[in-house]
């Protein structure tokens, strides 16, 4: 199964190159990838409920992360949708963007997304799933920002990335909590992240269970655009239409729903899960449907109705009864098909007329008959009109609601209301542009010139919508095709228990069936009436929506973003003053304060800081007069250099100080250090003389008392640190080991040198690289300046 993910990703990498060789034909080749992968997966999808094809390979055993994949009813259905719609969208994009100079990027990006999305649905490991989850966010970011020269596209891409990225972080945190809860429950490390194992484990008693649940739900909601995190999805409509059709209606936005469905066996018994999903889903379903009515842009209408449907699916998973799960399964597939078709039709309309404004479109049936037929079929499916697949889904949905006592009535009302909107909008989106009298939406003004010149879309742009729409009709007429092939397995996977599905177009004459049918008919009628009034109300609704938009979550997002930038700006200006001395002061003060803290806390605990110093052995305590004199000379040299007013005397005094320190090294058994120090001191003096004889002498401002105090205090801290090291009792095993090995192992008697060139040679290599870089840096600084000077001189 890993191959089915890697192949699209690999082909995505060579896609730009393929495009250069084959030009526009490359897209046909790319479309073969999802066809092949989809066929391979379709042949392996298990038919029986709860059957699954598992595969696992080791990835990071230290962390218990396995490349584990699972193909069952749920992931199989998703994989087929991803591959099927992916192939159609690739073909569509090839024609739709024929003239776009960046077409070569589109194919690769779509395949990248396809691979990531396949990985997401097939993963059986929480963390592998997370990796693919983030990869889809990245692909979505790149695709939304595809027309990156437009500010609007960049903003929308950023918005989508920030919202879904923040959700992704919540998701990761939730996964980690879940993983540790599972480890506590006694699962071995390599099993604690396996979703299929977790589903069979009862973790509800663990204290991390509910936090994990909340975080994961938050992540899923951000991806599936649940209120109030929905606002990025309508903005994402700045992406090219094939992208909207694929990512932002059929597949990626369903990743959140997928995750909820995937984890339903684990969380399904929790009351928090029920309430959270049902309420959020219901609210999203209704509000988004109403908001959709306030739009006039075809794609934005479709985006809001997508949000509404995602709400419905979330709600159904939250309800969690057998019927609700069946309804979710059917509705999810039906929606993916008709919504992708509708998006492609919207793209074709724009392609033909140059506008997506619903008010300017009309009477296009003659010019675009095939697109019109697809549109009618897809819209009827969306409206839930018989005999389309959407109708089957809607019937189940109503039945699921009726099944639930009191809560059911409320949900039924909410769903019916949302449905009325969706029906009206389906008609407005897919019927009006084709069959309206030749005037535009508002019935006044001339038909726009673009509508008169419109022409039928090219074949690749007809194939997608038509196939998907006819598919909807076919499955609607013979619903048994779906339930036997995938439906039962999918519903069982979501429920975590065998759920047999038997879909019917006509439920016979029973009170329950008749109620459902009655509600369907009433909803359709109301929807049609609303559609007729919608044009008149459009301006009012749009005004209300615009007012809501000013206070909505999108506004909160904007404020948060500007606030973040402003405060970052302020903090930078506060801390990055550009004053070197200020930085040094801050560093030293932090050093002083933290050391004081350490000393105080030790004193409060009654721990002696340097007890060993008192009992230090003889060698440590003993001192000789010549050593003391040497130390005093070093001190004098450094102090004199500090106080001296001229460069030359300071350099001389510093040189002397360095040589005296070399003597100190020699006294305490470090001949190599002494020699090195002497040589470096000589070179330092030469260096400083060469540099400084060109710089003016400058009387230093009198040092501030506070600065002197800070320096002295910091010096005292450092002295204290040296004293504190006496209290450390470091095991000298490494040193002893190296000393023992030097002669027999490295054929050298000078252990310091053996360490430098043999035992720790890699460190030394790094260090001489630094030396080389500094040398070249000096050279570059001087030579570049000289060259510029010379350039100025000649010009």
């Amino acid at each position: 199964m890993l191959w089915t993910i890697l192949i699209p990703l690999a082909v995505a990498g060579v896609a730009p190159w393929l495009h250069r060789v084959l030009r526009a034909r490359a897209i046909w080749l790319l479309a073969l990838v999802p066809v092949g992968v989809g066929t391979a997966l379709a042949l392996r999808v298990p038919r029986e409920p709860l059957g699954a094809w598992m595969e696992a390979a080791e990835w990071i055993p230290e962390l218990g992360i396995t490349l584990a994949f699972r193909l069952d009813g749920l992931s199989g259905t998703f994989a087929l949708l991803i591959c099927g719609i992916g192939a159609l969208v690739l073909l569509y994009a090839g024609a739709y963007m024929r003239t776009d100079p960046h077409l070569h990027r589109m194919g690769g990006l779509l395949l990248l997304f396809l691979g990531a999305m396949l990985g997401l649905v097939l993963s059986d490991d929480l963390f592998v799933l997370f990796v693919f989850w983030e990869l889809t966010s990245v692909a979505s970011y790149l695709l939304i920002g595809f027309k990156h020269e437009k500010q609007e596209a960049r903003d929308a891409a950023q918005k989508a990335l920030l919202v879904t990225g923040a959700g992704g972080l919540a998701l990761l945190a939730g996964f980690v909590l879940l993983h540790s809860a599972a480890s506590d429950a006694g699962l071995p490390m390599e099993q604690a992240a396996r979703i299929s194992v977790l589903a069979a484990t009862d973790l509800s008693g663990h204290h991390l269970f509910t936090p994990a649940l909340l975080l994961i739900v938050l992540g899923a909601f951000s991806k599936s655009a649940q209120m109030p995190l929905h606002f990025w999805l309508p903005s994402a409509m700045t992406a090219p239409t094939p992208v909207s059709a694929y990512l932002h209606s059929a597949t990626m936005v369903k990743a959140g729903v997928f995750l909820l469905a995937r984890l339903n066996p684990l969380f399904g018994d929790s009351a928090v899960w029920h309430v959270l999903l049902t309420v959020t889903g219901a609210v999203t379903m209704l509000v988004a449907a109403a908001l959709a009515a306030g739009q006039s842009d075809l794609k934005r209408i479709l985006a809001y109705t997508t949000v509404s449907v995602l709400g419905t699916l979330t709600m159904l998973i939250g309800v969690g009864t057998d019927l609700a799960i069946k309804a979710a399964a059917v509705y999810l597939v039906a929606h993916a098909c008709y919504k992708a078709a509708l998006f492609m039709i919207a793209g074709s309309l724009e392609h033909a007329t140059g506008t997506r404004d619903i008010r300017q479109l009309g009477g296009l049936f003659r010019a675009m008959p095939v697109t019109a037929v697809s549109g009618v079929l897809a819209a009827f499916s969306m409206a839930g009109a018989p005999p389309l697949f959407g109708f089957v889904g809607k019937e189940l949905l109503l039945k699921a609601k009726l099944d639930l006592e009191q809560l059911g009535v409320v949900l039924l009302l909410v769903a019916t209301l949302a449905n009325v909107f969706l029906i009206a909008l389906a008609l407005a989106v897919a019927i009006w542009p084709f069959f309206a009298p030749s005037a535009g939406w508002l019935r006044r003004g001339p038909r726009s010139a673009a509508c008169r010149l419109a022409h039928e879309a090219p074949l690749p742009m007809l194939a997608g919508p038509l196939l998907l729409a006819i598919g909807g009709l076919f499955v609607g007429l013979i619903p048994g095709v779906f339930d036997r092939a995938l439906g039962s397995a999918m519903a069982s996977a979501i429920g975590g228990r065998p759920i047999m599905m038997e879909l019917k177009l006509w439920h016979g004459v029973s009170p329950a069936a008749l109620t459902v049918l009655g509600i369907s008919i009433v909803t359709l009628t109301l929807g049609f009436l609303l559609f007729l009034r919608l044009r008149a109300w459009l301006t009012h609704i749009a005004a209300v929506v615009a007012r809501l938009g000013r206070r909505g979550p999108a506004r909160v997002y904007d404020l948060a973003l500007t606030g973040l930038f402003a405060s970052a700006d302020r903090v930078t200006r506060l801390t990055q003053t550009g004053s070197l001395r200020q930085y040094v002061r801050v560093i030293l003060l932090v050093l002083i304060v933290t050391s004081l803290g350490v000393v105080l806390s030790a004193a409060l605990d009654g721990r002696p800081l340097s007890h060993r110093l008192v009992s230090a052995d003889g060698l440590l305590a003993a001192w000789y007069w010549h050593e003391l004199v040497l130390v005093l000379l070093i001190l004098t040299g450094a102090t004199a250099a500090l106080l001296s007013r001229s460069h030359v005397s300071a350099i001389a005094l510093l040189g002397v100080t360095g040589l005296l320190i070399a003597a100190l090294f020699a006294l305490f058994s470090a001949p190599d250090l002494a020699i090195t120090q002497i040589l470096v001191e000589a070179l330092t003096v030469i260096l400083l003389v060469l540099v400084l004889y060109r710089l003016p002498e400058r009387t230093e401002h009198k040092a501030r008392f506070a600065d002197t105090a800070i320096a002295l205090a910091a010096g005292a801290v450092m002295a204290g640190i040296v004293l504190a090291t006496a209290a450390l009792h470091l095991p000298a095993t490494v040193s002893e080991h190296l000393a023992r090995l030097a002669k027999p192992g490295a054929h050298g008697r000078n252990i310091v040198n053996v360490i430098l060139v043999d035992f720790r040679a890699l460190d030394t290599l790094g260090e001489i690289t630094v030396v080389a870089a500094a040398g070249l840096g000096v050279y570059a600084l001087i030579k570049l300046y000289r060259r510029r000077k010379a350039g100025e001189g000649t010009s």
């Binding site: 054929h747 050298g748 000096v778």
Partner: protein, 135 residues
């Protein structure tokens, strides 16, 4: 600093210093010395020469550009570590020729590494000082 005495002394001392630097480099594995100390001694010789005469003559004495020396040294040090790979050992593992040379000196990749250190220190420090002396 164009003092004749200084120049004459320098002329006499420089070859001695350079020879001594090589001696320090080679004996470094057994007695105090090594690539760092040897390199610094060599730089001191060239710095002295550059002070007594000028940077141009010091460069002529050096023969190759300091940049080349630095790069050669880095390559030599890295290469001596990489040689272990060819012998199927981890990077930087020391390899030794079995034939023992007189005066305790044994030929091995470790010595090459030390020569690399010597060249880098010499090249980089000479680059700094000569460039400054010219400017």
């Amino acid at each position: 600093m164009k003092s004749l005495v200084f120049q004459a002394t320098t002329r006499a001392v420089t070859p001695l210093l350079l020879a001594f630097s090589l001696f320090m480099l080679l004996r470094g594995h057994n007695e105090p010395g090594g690539g760092f100390i040897g390199g610094l001694l060599a730089v001191a010789a060239f710095a002295l020469y550059a002070l007594a005469f000028d940077a141009r003559r010091a460069r002529a004495l050096l023969g190759v550009s300091p940049q080349t020396l630095t790069a050669t040294g880095l390559l030599l040090a890295t290469g001596s570590g990489g040689a272990a790979w060819l012998a199927g050992q981890p990077f930087m593992a020391g390899l030794w020729l079995s034939a023992a040379l007189p005066a305790e000196l044994k030929l091995g990749t470790v010595l090459l590494f030390d020569v690399g250190v010597y060249l880098v220190v010499l090249g980089a420090a000479a680059l700094v000082l000569l460039t400054l002396r010219e400017g």
